[in-house]
Amino acid sequence: MSINQILPFFSTAIMLGFTVYVLQRYWVRRAPHFLFWGIGLAMFGAGSFAEAYLSLSWNRWIFFAWYLFGAALNAAWIGHGTLTLLVRKTWVHIVTVILVAGSLFAGYLMLQVMPKLDETVFTTSKPVSEQYGTKVLAAGETAPADAQTATITDNGRQVTVIKGLLPLGSPVRLTTPFFNIYGLLTLVGGAIWSAYLFWRKRVLPNRVIGNVLIAAGALLIGSASTLTRLGYGQFLYIGELLCAILMFTGFRFAARPQPDEVAQPVTVAAG
């Protein structure tokens, strides 16, 4: 068993602890942002577990969980928790409805594509994130030595493709960037914005640092995923683990009681 097969199990364990920690807070305080965070973190954990499983063996429903929860939805749900915390406006409820409906629609599209998965291309020798998509080879581009290629007809023209688990042009893949853009904006943008507000007001250093850690963790996995799609998959598992550690640490840091209290003379009206 290689280190890359072990790391996702550590990420899964950390995300499981993180999810329980956040859902416990929801149970006590009933604040909706904890629920959205908890759901998103559970999705992240499911995605990490699926990735760990798929580094050892194939299972189509584990792949379903990996793509839907790990690749598509989790960032958007965690980010929506941040939006719910930061913005107390009616339109956030409309966004919630859109997110739920969009997630169900993505699940429906994923179910539609399940019978068309090309399981013959699956290998445990590389991350699933490097083999899920079917990619058209551009003119003059050569396929990697270990890739399976095929010539197919796409929109009336013959193209050579590197075969992936999902067929070319799967509609579910079109939904993923929407969720990820929304997730990046709200999760990372929200954490950076919160850190900036506390920093500008010169208060609550634990929340400044906590939000910086959360933003850094989310950016780390976003960057590692992007690098994987560009062919540098070796950073993915360590990126995922560092993301889990940074985000959990950041959350604990931001939520902890203040280290000190500053006594300031304040003029108050005598009663």
Binding site: R229, Q258, E261, V262
Partner: protein
């Protein structure tokens, strides 16, 4: 008659701290730029400009 002390429960950022004066602002700017770059990348994928 004015008077009395009230405890301000908010802790404050330490003054003259390299971490809070230089490192945190630099990190926030850097992460903001990286976020925009990743969003543009994802938008490029969505619009079919970036292929993978």
């Amino acid at each position: 008659m004015p008077g009395g002390l009230q405890t301000n429960k908010k802790s404050h950022l330490p003054g003259n701290s390299l971490m809070f004066e230089k490192v945190i602002p630099a990190l926030l700017i850097l992460m903001g730029i990286l976020t925009i770059a990743l969003i543009l990348f994802a938008a490029g994928v969505l619009l079919g400009i970036v292929h993978f």
